[in-house]
Amino acid sequence: MNRINKVFENKKEILSIYFTAGFPNLSDTSSIIENLDKSGVDMIEIGLPFSDPIADGPTIQQSSSTALKNGMTTKKLFSQLKDLRKLTNIPIIIMGYFNPIMQYGVEPFCKDCESIGIDGLIVPDLPVDIYYNNYKKTFEKYNLLNMFLITPQTSIERVKFIDKISNGFIYMISSFSITGAVNSFQKEQKEYFERINKMNLKSPLLIGFGISNRETYKDAIKFSQGAIIGSAFIKHLEKKGVNKITDFIKKIRK
């Protein structure tokens, strides 16, 4: 069974952390993964940096620019992850925009992901229908789950379709806004979470975008199986460095 499916079977209140590969320094990848594993997070999303990340906010864009300046490439990341499965046993997802994956070749990309032990992908600008018609078989051939996003604007029919073809979890975007910190959820957001919860989807839900502290994390897990933190973690990394990762995770979970 895929590690992602397993973690949802065995755990509640999942905490998944996103970081941009190559940030703050080119060679931080392994030590970030190690420290996150040690601090007890349940899942890690490794961001493959892209020059034009339209679905991300300023913090992640900035970290991506830095990572690219540092010399991060797809090949480089794969070579850094060669011994990934000696470092950790938790599910690892790569989140990347479609253009770098296309240039690498979708099939070679998936193949290399499988061989290093990646469990799934999030490709925000690969729409559900194009995935379904053109790439689903390739992802499945290499045992990669594909996670889709839903937003408050996603129609009920579309949520149902996404649920039907999902094989991992559904990434529920907390608000209209692109990634970046907010302090607490608004009434409208909670109503949206409740609306989705009432649909009794087969796929588990993780809430992402705008989870920045213990308060929003606690709020999020009331409405889902867990939460994803990105921008707030990147800011912490930037300020405190890779050795203080446990402090950040402790503050979220206590």
Partner: protein, 395 residues
């Protein structure tokens, strides 16, 4: 079945186009997709659009027979005078269309991206005309380079927001505008300025700009007794003026299509915007097209002396014209483009935008025959480029 070079029902031109967008944009793009043709073919829409094009923009623009140029090059040269449009270029045809569409969709806030500022000015203009709030995203670098256009937008009541990420130019302004739209999905319409972006934008913008080609057809019919020229020639950055003049001729292979790209300091100089030569298939701003990028798939920053041509991609329609061979692509460097800015000024008394100058430089690259009828899209006037011309020629 006859091949069509126009968009298919899935939003593709051959291999190119589509909507490679994050889920956050899906509802907005879907709303546009299911409405743009319906609304823009309503009688009341068509009437208002054409009234404004006539009485506000100053259409139809003349199809001018360039006598001295024709004599010199021993062929028949016509100029479609888009430079005479209100605000100085063809850009306003599209912004008028989209603002009317936005109104029909009930939107009360407009955003747009701009590079050189021409599309920003054209958007700010129609927002002032309609009394709608307008926010223009512009790269920080471009804001410094294009001060007069920034002032124009402000004078027209628009807010100009700097894009401070990435290379701080057009592509980053586009990213910021997309982010704004994601954050404001309900009340906001995003007016894209060229035939780029996710479907239905390339087709929608091409349709609004097709007024250029449609006018050429009827004007040429009157003047030459034949609505088909032998060649239509236009410069291509994103490609909206080219799409507009090619539109009615796309599937009429008797008419040859020539796209002129900016070679910048030369194809091999590392400072160029000749996407057809230097680009590879990929995804930019939600569209599969040819774009300039690194081997690793990072989008690179193009260069041209004309700010309107330095977009790292081309519209999917043009990518397909290139791949299918329907369009001939020629790249013109800064030097030849600047020379033609001067040539057209001195031979015809028309100071063109530097973008437009690129197209005319084709006259030195291709030998046309005596009976050929050639239509150039004279897409914009050179007022905005005076400073560049002054610096370059030490005027």
């Amino acid at each position: 079945m006859k091949i069509s070079y126009n968009v298919n029902k899935n939003g593709f031109y051959g291999d190119f186009g589509g909507a490679f967008i994050p889920e956050m944009m899906h509802a907005n793009i879907e709303e546009l997709k299911s409405n743009y043709i319906k609304i823009s073919s309503e009688k009341s829409f068509v009437k208002e659009f054409h009234d404004l094009l006539k009485n506000y923009v100053g259409r139809p623009t003349p199809l001018y027979f360039a006598k001295r140029l024709s004599n010199k090059y021993k062929t028949k040269i016509y100029l479609k005078r888009e430079d005479l449009c209100h605000t100085g270029a063809h850009k306003i045809n599209n912004t008028i269309g989209q603002i009317l569409l936005a109104k029909k969709l009930g939107k009360n806030r407009i955003i747009a991206e701009t590079g050189a500022g021409q599309h920003g000015v054209a958007t700010a203009t129609v927002c002032a005309l309609m009394g709608i709030k307008c926010i223009i995203y512009m790269g920080e670098v471009d804001i410094k380079r294009q001060a007069p256009n920034v002032a124009r937008m402000k004078m027209l009541g628009a807010e100009v927001r700097p894009a401070v990420c990435g290379s701080k130019t057009l592509k980053d302004a586009t990213n910021e505008a997309i982010r704004d739209w994601i954050n404001n999905p309900i009340n906001t319409h995003y007016i894209i300025g060229s035939v780029v972006g996710p479907h239905p934008y390339p087709d929608m913008v091409a349709r609004f700009q097709s007024v250029i080609g449609n006018e050429v057809k009827s004007q040429l019919k009157k003047i030459e007794g034949n609505e088909n020229p032998n060649y239509v020639i236009a410069c291509v950055g994103g490609g909206s003026n080219a799409a507009g003049i090619f539109y009615p001729y796309l599937d009429n292979e008797k008419v040859k299509i020539i796209c002129v790209e900016a070679a910048g300091k030369g194809i091999d100089s590392g400072e160029s915007a000749a996407t057809s030569v230097l680009g590879k298939e990929g995804i930019i701003h939600g569209s599969k097209t040819l774009l300039m990028q690194t081997a690793d798939g990072q989008i690179t920053e193009p260069y041209s002396i004309s700010a309107g041509l330095d977009y790292p991609g081309i519209g999917p329609m043009h990518a397909n014209l290139y791949r299918s061979g329907r369009g001939k692509f020629i790249s013109i460097d800064d030097k030849d483009a600047m020379k033609w800015g001067l040539n057209l000024s001195r031979m015809e008394g028309i100071i063109p935008a530097i973008e437009t100058s690129h197209a005319f430089a084709v006259l030195d690259k291709i030998k046309f025959s005596k009976d050929d009828v050639i239509v150039f899209n004279c897409s914009g006037r050179g007022d905005k480029d005076l400073e560049t011309y002054i610096d370059y020629f030490k005027l």
